[in-house]
Chain length 364, copies 2
C-alpha cells in the first residue's frame, strides 16, 4: 500500500538524507524528445546508457521509459539495469522525481513536489509537462513508498542538503517568477524546513551563467560531506561566471550551517566555454513552445553536476583541458569513493548534466 | 537483474505451480478500449475494480494501466491496490501475462509466450497486439524475475495444471489455425511438457460454445485441487453447450492424470443463455479489424471462469437464477477457502471473465 499523507516529513520525523548517505538505488528517465535531443535522441541515449552503466557499478539503477522507447531502451541498456514504463515529457529525474525522506529507523517516504518545467507558462522550457509532474507519484507507487504531496513548485536540482539540518539553494531559482511568485522568501523557506526537515536554509544568490533552469544550485555547488562544499569556479574575470561564483563563495564564507560550522569550500575550475555547434543545433526539431537550441549559445557546463553513489561518484567530462584536473581534484576530495568520469556533452546539449538525470533512493 | 534464458523450465528444474498453491500476488490490466468495452470502458472499469478489491482481501494486487488511464485507475481503485504503467492493447492479463514457474526451493521465473490476440491475422480479435505481446516481459522486468522466451503462440487461459505433472488443454484452441498451424499436436504437447514441466497433457476436445478465444480451457473447466476438476455443465440437451460439456466429461472420465489417478469431476450448472442487449451493443465503437459486439449474440458465460487466491476464490455472478447454486456448490467444494462472487456481466461483455483478467504470481 502506498499512502498519501496530508502531514509533512518534519511533523512525522522524516528528513531528506544527504546524497552521500547510503542508497537503495538510483532512478533515471530515458531521453527521446526530438525537440530537445538531437538526432532523435540517439546520441543522448548512448550517453544516458553510459551514465546508468557507470552508476550500476555501485548501486541498482532503474530506468523509466515511455512505452514507445521500451524496446529500444531495453536493448541499449545492459541487462542488470531495470527498465520500467514511466511516461514522461523529458528525462530529468532529478527535477520531476520524488525527493526521498527517511526517519533514520529504516522507513523511507517520498516528497512529490509540483513540477512545471522550470517556470510554467512564465518561462518554462516546454509545454505540456503533465507526464513529468506525475513521475514522482508513479515511482513511489511502483515501490509502494508512502508519499507527501508538497504544495510547492520545486525541482530536486534546486536543493542540496547535508543531512544534518542544512539546505543550500539559490535565490535566482526559488524566488523566480515562474515558480511560486505568490510566496515571499520566508514562506518558501518554511516549506523547505517542513518538507526537507532542515533547520537552516542558505540562500546563494545565483547559479551558473546561462543555466536554463534559472540557476539550479546543483550545477554551481554541492556537498561532499557535512560542512564541505565543492564550488564551480573560474579565475577569468571576463567570464560572466566569475561574478556568480565569487558571490556564492563570499556568501557561503559569511555563513554557518545548521550545526554552527563554517563551511570548507573547494573550488573546481569549470571547463572552457562550450558553445552549441551548428551541426548540433541542426539536429534538433524546432517546436513552438520548446526552448530552441541555437548554434553559438553557451552551455552551462560544470563539473559540479555529478552523482554521488554507494562508494562512487560519476562526474561529467567534456573533452576539455580541465577534465583531468576536475577528476583529480574530486578524487582527492572524495578519498573513500571511486570517482569515474563519463563523456557528457550530449547530456549538456539537452540542458543539464549527470546530477540532473539521476535521483537517489536512500537505503531503508 | 532480469535475465532471459535460452533453456526451458524443465531443463532447469522449474515447473508451473497450480493456481491453488500459495501466491505472492495477482496481476491485472485495466480495461479501456472503446471498441471492446461499452461506454468508454467505464462500466467495465467498475467491474475490474470490484474484482481487484475482492482479490486484495486475500493477496496483493497490481494493476497495469496505459499512461492515459493512470490517473483514472488510481482514483477508481482503493489505495492498497498497486497501480503501475504497463501499456497494453486490451486487459487480459491471463492471456498476455507471464506464466510463472517455480523450482520448489523459493526461486520463481516466468514464461513469456508469443501472444497474437487469439488467432493473429487468421482469426484474431483485434489488430495490432504488439503492446499485449510485451506485457509478460514488462511484468517480469519490473519484478526482476528471470524469463524464458517460449517460441509458441499460447495464452495462459488455454492451460490448467495440477502442479503434479498434469496439464489440461483443449484441441479446439491449441490446434486452431490461428496459433501454431505449422506444429502437429505432438510437437505442441512437447512444448507444453518443456515449458510447464508436466508429464501428461489431457486434450479436452472443445471449450464453451461461442467462446471467442477458440475454446480456452479456463472457461469450461478448472482444477480445484489435484485430481479434482469443476466442469461447466447444462442438463438442457437442446443447448449447444450440452454436447461440448458431455464430451469433455466423457473424455476426462476415460483418462488418468500424470499420477495415474482417475479424475473426480464436479458439474457446475451454467447460467441461462445471456445475450448482448441492444443498448449494450450500442455502447461499443465499431472499428474495422475488431470483433464486433452485436445485439442478440450469445455470450460464453460460465461460473468456472473464476480466480483462486490465498484462502479465497473470486467467482462471477450474472444476476441469474443459477448464481446462488454455483456459489454454494463451489463453497462446498472449496471448504478451506472463502468463496466470494462479484457481478461480472460487464467483464463478460468484453469477451471473458474473472480468470481471464487475472494472473497469479506464485510465492517464491
Amino acid at each position: 500500500m502506498s499512502l498519501t499523507f496530508d502531514s509533512t516529513p518534519r511533523a512525522d520525523g522524516f528528513f531528506m538524507p544527504a546524497e552521500f548517505a547510503p542508497h537503495a538505488g538510483c532512478w533515471m528517465l530515458w531521453p527521446q524528445r526530438p525537440d530537445n535531443w538531437r538526432l532523435g535522441g540517439k546520441p543522448a541515449q548512448k550517453a544516458f546508457a553510459a551514465v546508468a552503466t557507470a552508476i550500476a557499478q555501485f548501486e541498482p539503477v532503474t530506468m523509466g521509459v515511455n512505452a514507445n522507447q521500451y524496446s529500444n531502451a531495453r536493448q541499449m541498456l545492459p541487462p542488470h539495469i531495470r527498465v520500467v514504463e514511466i511516461s514522461n515529457n523529458d528525462s530529468w529525474m532529478r527535477d520531476c522525481g520524488p525527493t526521498f525522506v527517511a526517519d533514520g529507523k529504516g522507513r523511507v517516504r517520498g516528497v512529490d513536489w509540483v513540477f512545471n518545467a522550470w517556470g510554467g507558462l512564465y518561462n518554462g522550457l516546454y509545454f505540456p509537462w503533465d507526464l513529468d509532474d506525475a513521475v514522482a507519484q508513479k515511482v513511489l507507487e511502483m515501490e509502494q513508498v508512502d508519499r507527501y504531496k508538497a504544495p510547492l513548485v520545486l525541482e530536486g536540482g534546486s536543493i542540496h542538503v547535508d543531512g544534518e539540518g542544512t539546505c543550500i539553494t539559490t535565490e535566482e531559482c526559488l524566488l523566480s517568477l515562474g515558480r511560486n511568485p505568490e510566496l515571499p522568501k520566508h514562506r518558501i523557506e518554511s516549506f523547505l524546513k517542513e518538507y526537507l526537515n532542515v533547520e537552516k536554509v542558505l540562500w546563494v544568490p545565483r547559479g551558473v551563467f546561462h543555466d536554463e533552469t534559472t540557476g539550479h544550485v546543483d550545477n554551481i555547488l554541492c556537498y561532499l560531506r557535512p560542512g564541505v562544499v565543492a564550488l564551480n569556479w573560474t579565475d577569468d574575470k571576463s567570464d560572466p561566471q566569475y561574478d556568480r561564483s565569487e558571490e556564492a563563495y563570499d556568501y557561503l564564507m559569511s555563513q554557518t550551517d545548521a550545526k554552527g560550522r563554517r563551511l570548507e569550500i573547494h573550488k573546481i575550475r569549470q571547463p572552457n566555454p562550450i558553445l552549441i555547434q551548428p551541426e548540433e543545433a541542426e539536429g534538433v526539431d524546432a517546436v513552438d513552445g520548446t526552448l530552441p537550441r541555437q548554434a553559438g549559445d553557451r552551455m552551462a557546463a560544470s563539473y559540479i553536476n555529478f552523482y554521488l553513489c554507494n562508494g562512487g561518484a560519476v562526474i561529467p567530462s567534456f573533452g576539455d583541458p580541465h577534465d583531468a584536473e576536475a577528476l583529480e581534484r574530486l578524487q582527492q576530495l572524495l578519498p573513500d569513493r571511486k570517482v569515474v568520469s563519463v563523456p557528457a556533452r550530449e547530456i549538456l546539449l539537452g540542458g543539464g548534466n549527470i546530477h540532473c538525470i539521476t535521483q537517489q533512493q536512500p537505503k531503508g
